[in-house]
Symmetry: C2
Subunit: 132 residues, 2 copies
């Protein structure tokens, strides 16, 4: 029997559907700070205040929120030492470490094309009528 007109999504649509999980990845990595935190913690367990300095420019609020999110997603392990003053360490999980490795691929790409992108942008801005 003939198919209705609502089926067979285009190849492009299928490709989008298949790469859908990448959207979830980005959810864990999205935001201004998640990656910075991941990178800062990659070297080994790191304390709250150390993170604050390492990431640079992040507010306490956002640091806390992002840490909670990453912990919830199983990217970070939070260890509290019941001392006084309190000491809390955050460490990457193996999963997060893998992610960190994968991210290196992106960094490389960025390094390689940083100049090209800047050039393309300058070119575009020069070509387009000034958006007054």
């Amino acid at each position: 029997m003939s198919r209705s007109h609502t089926d067979v999504p285009s190849p492009a649509r299928q490709a989008v559907l298949e790469s859908c999980p990448i959207g979830e990845v980005l959810d864990h990595v999205a935001g201004k700070w998640s990656i910075g935190i991941l990178v800062a913690a990659a070297a080994g367990p790191i304390r709250f205040t150390e993170l604050e300095r390492a990431v640079g420019g992040i507010s306490r609020r956002m640091l806390t929120l992002n840490l909670r999110k990453l912990e919830r997603d199983g990217m970070l392990v939070r260890t509290v030492y019941p001392t006084v003053p309190p000491k809390v360490e955050y460490a990457l999980t193996p999963m997060a470490r893998e992610l960190h490795d994968t991210l290196v691929g992106l960094t490389d790409w960025a390094e390689r094309h940083r100049g090209a992108i800047a050039a393309a942008r300058a070119d575009y801005d020069a070509t387009q009528p000034a958006a007054v």
Copy 2:
């Protein structure tokens, strides 16, 4: 001479600084739609309306904005055919194609850990006192 107390950033801080370009990457890939557009256009030149259907759920406004942004960054080439009705095709640049390949690494990671992340989340939510 002894160094002041303001120098020698921590290793973690240095790591963050070194991986800084990744922040720029994300700027090009950030947002809800950029990746979808990239993926949809990966198969070959694609028209505006085709993109609209392929990405799915995107508004005309956001599609236009994202296309302009990607074009400006040198990820897309916009070709106008002065016919009637108008026909416009968007094609990935080699640079964007490389990015697309790199993104596959992330997709793989997401696939592999999708379950683990969901589990970690359920675990976390079960452990934490219900945030009423």
